[in-house]
Symmetry: C5
Amino acid sequence: MSRRDTIEVPNPLHTLRVMGRFVRRQVKRSGSMPGTLVHTGEKKMDRVRLRVLDYDPSGLREAEVAMPEELWALRDTATTSWINVDGLHDLDLISRFGEQFRLHPLVLEDLVHVGQRPKHEEYDDYDYIVLPMLTWDVERGIVQDEQLSLVVGPHWVVTFQEREGDVFEPVRERLRAEKGRIRARGADYLAYALIDAVVDRYFEVLEKVGDRTEELELEALDDPGPDMMPRLHQLKRELVVLRRAVWPVRDLLDGLVEGESTHVTDETRVFFRDVYDHAMQVIETVEALRDVVSGAIDLYLSTVAHRTNEVMKVLTIMASIFIPLTFMAGIYGMNFEHMPELHLPWAYPVLWVAMLAVAGGMVMWFRRRGWL
Amino acid sequence: MSRRDTIEVPNPLHTLRVMGRFVRRQVKRSGSMPGTLVHTGEKKMDRVRLRVLDYDPSGLREAEVAMPEELWALRDTATTSWINVDGLHDLDLISRFGEQFRLHPLVLEDLVHVGQRPKHEEYDDYDYIVLPMLTWDVERGIVQDEQLSLVVGPHWVVTFQEREGDVFEPVRERLRAEKGRIRARGADYLAYALIDAVVDRYFEVLEKVGDRTEELELEALDDPGPDMMPRLHQLKRELVVLRRAVWPVRDLLDGLVEGESTHVTDETRVFFRDVYDHAMQVIETVEALRDVVSGAIDLYLSTVAHRTNEVMKVLTIMASIFIPLTFMAGIYGMNFEHMPELHLPWAYPVLWVAMLAVAGGMVMWFRRRGWL
Amino acid sequence: MSRRDTIEVPNPLHTLRVMGRFVRRQVKRSGSMPGTLVHTGEKKMDRVRLRVLDYDPSGLREAEVAMPEELWALRDTATTSWINVDGLHDLDLISRFGEQFRLHPLVLEDLVHVGQRPKHEEYDDYDYIVLPMLTWDVERGIVQDEQLSLVVGPHWVVTFQEREGDVFEPVRERLRAEKGRIRARGADYLAYALIDAVVDRYFEVLEKVGDRTEELELEALDDPGPDMMPRLHQLKRELVVLRRAVWPVRDLLDGLVEGESTHVTDETRVFFRDVYDHAMQVIETVEALRDVVSGAIDLYLSTVAHRTNEVMKVLTIMASIFIPLTFMAGIYGMNFEHMPELHLPWAYPVLWVAMLAVAGGMVMWFRRRGWL
Amino acid sequence: MSRRDTIEVPNPLHTLRVMGRFVRRQVKRSGSMPGTLVHTGEKKMDRVRLRVLDYDPSGLREAEVAMPEELWALRDTATTSWINVDGLHDLDLISRFGEQFRLHPLVLEDLVHVGQRPKHEEYDDYDYIVLPMLTWDVERGIVQDEQLSLVVGPHWVVTFQEREGDVFEPVRERLRAEKGRIRARGADYLAYALIDAVVDRYFEVLEKVGDRTEELELEALDDPGPDMMPRLHQLKRELVVLRRAVWPVRDLLDGLVEGESTHVTDETRVFFRDVYDHAMQVIETVEALRDVVSGAIDLYLSTVAHRTNEVMKVLTIMASIFIPLTFMAGIYGMNFEHMPELHLPWAYPVLWVAMLAVAGGMVMWFRRRGWL
Amino acid sequence: MSRRDTIEVPNPLHTLRVMGRFVRRQVKRSGSMPGTLVHTGEKKMDRVRLRVLDYDPSGLREAEVAMPEELWALRDTATTSWINVDGLHDLDLISRFGEQFRLHPLVLEDLVHVGQRPKHEEYDDYDYIVLPMLTWDVERGIVQDEQLSLVVGPHWVVTFQEREGDVFEPVRERLRAEKGRIRARGADYLAYALIDAVVDRYFEVLEKVGDRTEELELEALDDPGPDMMPRLHQLKRELVVLRRAVWPVRDLLDGLVEGESTHVTDETRVFFRDVYDHAMQVIETVEALRDVVSGAIDLYLSTVAHRTNEVMKVLTIMASIFIPLTFMAGIYGMNFEHMPELHLPWAYPVLWVAMLAVAGGMVMWFRRRGWL
């Protein structure tokens, strides 16, 4: 029989994850001046890596540079440049980068102060977009997020990531292979392609969460142990995390579709409409999964209630049959001097018959009530 | 007595259906370039079938063609043409079709990438409309959906379906019979007639879901077994699926009524207002059914609670009556040498009287409390 | 003791009522052409009845006509005419009527296809208004609805009802008695007076539902039987039905107050504002009653839980007192040869004292815990 | 032990209060012509009382008049006049009043037909405002409301109350004492001062409801009896009543702040913004109290569940310890001829040791599970 | 075993805190004239303290003055002045202050009447902003609030606090150190810096609430005692308090971002957008924590239900095994003269075998059902 302390949660509960990294970090930063660069993520890489992809329909150049100052030239050329920054801990480098591209101090602050709400802000020379890259941590069964910042200028896009390894490899392949005329379309289309790649990855997370939901749902039906509820609770919280991450992405994309940004051409807006639809799919799926998990919790609770009912029935049936019989046996175990029945030769068999009749009557009565 | 493993769900749970086919498929597609044609449905037919209905008030021609290039001529004639495409797996054919009708790459992608959110998008030359055709799978007790895409141009409508067999036969009949002057009204009215036929079919699904709801509701009252809750849970999820399918249809139609499309005349808008009302009826019915199913779950849980209560009462009554009596019998079963009562001749009958009095007292007390 | 099969619901459950008549009927109609007249109500009268009330400040004429063609003359006179049509099954008559008054095919369809959502649609020559007349079916304890259609033209109002007998008698009286200058105010004011009479009747239904709510609420406190929950569930569903009927009426009236209709003068708009307020009262009352019924369900469930608790206490007290005593008696019922206590003369009274002490101790302990 | 019928609710349930007085009354009125004066409140006074306060910065005159015709002169003077009408049952007087001040028939109807939704309606010459004066009926533990109507003209304000005794005494004092330059500010400021006094009184009701909430909350923790739930349920309904009364007041004030009325100057609008903030405070407090009461219900239910658990534990411990012991005693109470143990001299003490061991083992096992 | 009265709540419940200080205080003030200064906070300091920070890019002067009249000179200089008022109980001083800065009587009233809703009001010469400074009272486990009022003029900002000690020290440091060019940016930027400091502090409160949530969540899993529910209930109420405090802050900041104030330059608006994002983070975190606490309550209730189930199983198993055995022993304890079994030499061992068989059968049956 399971003891109470065997109720083990498969993963430690991470309530504070629900609060997001931002809250935790904001406390440490508290009091510093706006525009101060404080990197609030963990240092995930040794060295910040700056990679450049510079292209136009006629050609494509890839390079890796060491100093942000080397990027200056790219800023005003007619070719489209994609500069990818992996790692945010080198605040001096980020700050020099900001000077080169004349980024607003608040943009620089948000870049390094990870855990921002997804948002789109328009500045005179560029658009600043933040959105989370989500992955499913199989081992711990939780959703992980990494902050992606995009700065979209007239002929260049800069992306900032917390660590190496991203979801952009297919975009790079398309640029190299000149598939779909991506090279001819300019920086706003590149921004679209990158955001599309990020949102596409959300579906993968959803699929994993969906698999886990189904797993728990089947278990809730089949053999719900005492650790069922903590696990459903944890899944529900992961959905809270997901929901919180994805809703603002929708607003962000809605703004881009509605033409809030002057850097996005009408032609590209059609494409953003497509990503917007995908984001809506993600949101609707998260909401639907919430409904399903809530239902699974009800299912589990009703199974527990049903089992208690079953247990009670067994007890009631056993007790109701044998307690009267024991009483009958008790009667004739008494030591009164004057109990005429004790001396009748057929008394014992008659009592057996009576006992069987009582037991049979109870059984029939239980059967009529549908308990047997 | 039912064992735990007899809790069988009539149909396997399909949590992932709640997520929609799109999510599942999107994961596979992930990373491919926008505009890439990837058919994500199952191949449901051998060959794509292209059927043409070309008409004006004076006449109607039906034909089946093999090559999309044969449709070119129809595109710019004054007659209204309805081209129906059954089957989406022949990507080459779809892509040649797209070239003929100058469809945007994103439209082509959405056409074949089934499981889209219902939506209406306006392009310069045509409107693109996606909405689901819903049917009730009696055997598995679930809602099935098939993606219908409409491309509505000035003098032509193209419909894309995943497989043969549709809800449009009545529209074809009316075209052939020239009922209701449908032939005189142009492509936008044809689009209305087709959408109307799709939405009308939703009512059939609703009716089936309603029947099932009533069935379960009556069972929840009458004889709720342990598989009641999983079945209610499954029904609830089908309503989640339905809700998710139908809400965006309302937005789509609202857009058409409000005149978002330049291809829809004011005269036809009045008709779209009618379909919009039907869609609202569908949504309100889905919401009402959700309320009813939630109520049925409460009903079931309260029935279980009430039964536990009844079981407990039986146990309590049996135990409360017989345990004191057994104790009394136990007393006189003791073997003390000096128990004067044992030797009195009327002790035994007196004890019987006392026992009956105790039992009677308990019964009366229970009756006064309303337990008997 | 009540057996399970005694859980009788006072009225059969009507899940499908929640779906509304429209859904049921729509399925039958499915596939017919828009504008086709299909009467979906039951034939409730032998013959359609056409009654005319034609008036101006100077006089009033009442008549009953057989043919819609006789009404032609009324259409363009300066006097205000109110034509009331009782019965909708004679489609030929309705269709001839439509021709006389140049009604749009969709209007004619909606007229006879009962169970429409309440709505207001403006056409060039007239406004079309649908709203439900609600009554409380005392016998079955459910809300009944009848569709009322109003067509409001410049000098005439036509009302279509499913059967004879309506809520308009007071309006007729006022017209005949020339109370409140109703005769001087034109067709839009007549429409207001009719809608006001319909909405006023909603309060009567609310009162009945409120009475039933109070009845069940008191019963939930006093003596909740096993049929309590189904009855609360049914009441809740009636509120779902009511809510669904009344919410769109509010939108309809809001449209009229906001001046969506060109046939309603500013002077009459003030009056529609008044009906709008009444509709808001109805909606707020329905919402409040929903809250109360939900509360009553909680009340019932808590009463059941409390009773289970009481039952358990009785069992526990009885068992805890008598099981130890029975054990003590059992000890001295043993037949060991060497049990010195059995031979002591004061052993039997001492045991009684011990038993009373144990029983008394248990009683005191239970009393200290507040169980007795 | 408390019997079922001891579940007494401190106050009779008043479901129908939730519906508001209006619904009840509307049923009686049903069918009468709009503009007909039907007083739906109870006659609370013998005689309608008309009091006049006429003032300008230079002076103030108080008077009580018998006939509305005497007020005629005040209507067009430059001084500001506040006419207060206590009592609404004298319909003839109200109707003559209406003639003097040229009030719209619907205004007169709403004046006497108490239980209106709070609202603001603009007419050409004046604004009509209805809002409830709320008080807490300590004895019955419910919220009482009285309808206050304000008619605000250019130089006069008329207030209609159902009975004598109001919340306006401080305003009168300020007028008499010329505090805060109230006399210089005109009729719209007077209207503000009166509404402010009414809304201020809401806080008093809130405080009483809050006290009662706290009282029940503490009781739910301390010693929740079976009447706890009905009392929480009643409190919840009072909050439904409050909520329903206060929400429309917010809309009313929002309209005045947003400048819907042409009779309110910009200077006074600033003051209405202040009352609006107070109304928001009231609403937010009502919503917060609803949350707290819901929480208290959960608290109560969990306490009941916890107690059932405790009761079960006691039963289980008693039964699990003594039932095996009784069985052991039963064994050696058997009368078999050949039971060698019975004849061993140390059998009896050995059995006692065994019994103590079993009992001790059970106790230890329960202790390890944390039940003891 | 825990007795009922051991259910101790760690902190007394403060239902009325949910209502906010304003409600309590408003009752006392009720009836006084608008614009009357009534300080509703507690007197937290001996003397009101007036501190001035006057700066421009070239220098900074700090001073402490005794009379508001000394501030007059600062009002119209080109330098930016920040006047901080600690303590609100000296109404005469506040009122003289108001005269110097020509503040509207309603502003003065709101300043001292603490517990206002967060709001932003624009007046001709200045903006008035109220928002709460929140701190977590570790000892009592509750959220404490202090009202902060800002009056923002063209060249000056006045802040009013209830007591000394605030969150502005970092801002003062930056002003003194001329970090981030804060001195060059004017009064609107100073207002931003102050509001930013306040909102930043919210994160600290959130973190504390989050820690407590996690603590309770883990306890709900591990060893939920009877005081678990009151503690969760209290935490939930603190979230109600937080939510109520923070939501209006968002509206306030939204207004500033959207340019409702003419005193805020476009340059500074970008910074307010940043604080707005932080406020959104706070709100989303509060909502997420509400979800988590609700989940923890479900978790606790399901743990209690599961335990009851476990307790019942133990009882049922014990009773079901031993009651039949006791009955069997009882049979052969009877004293009938004619019981042939009693005289058979192998009867006793055979009975033991039978008893073991019955017990073993029960154990196996329970094992098959998964109860053992």
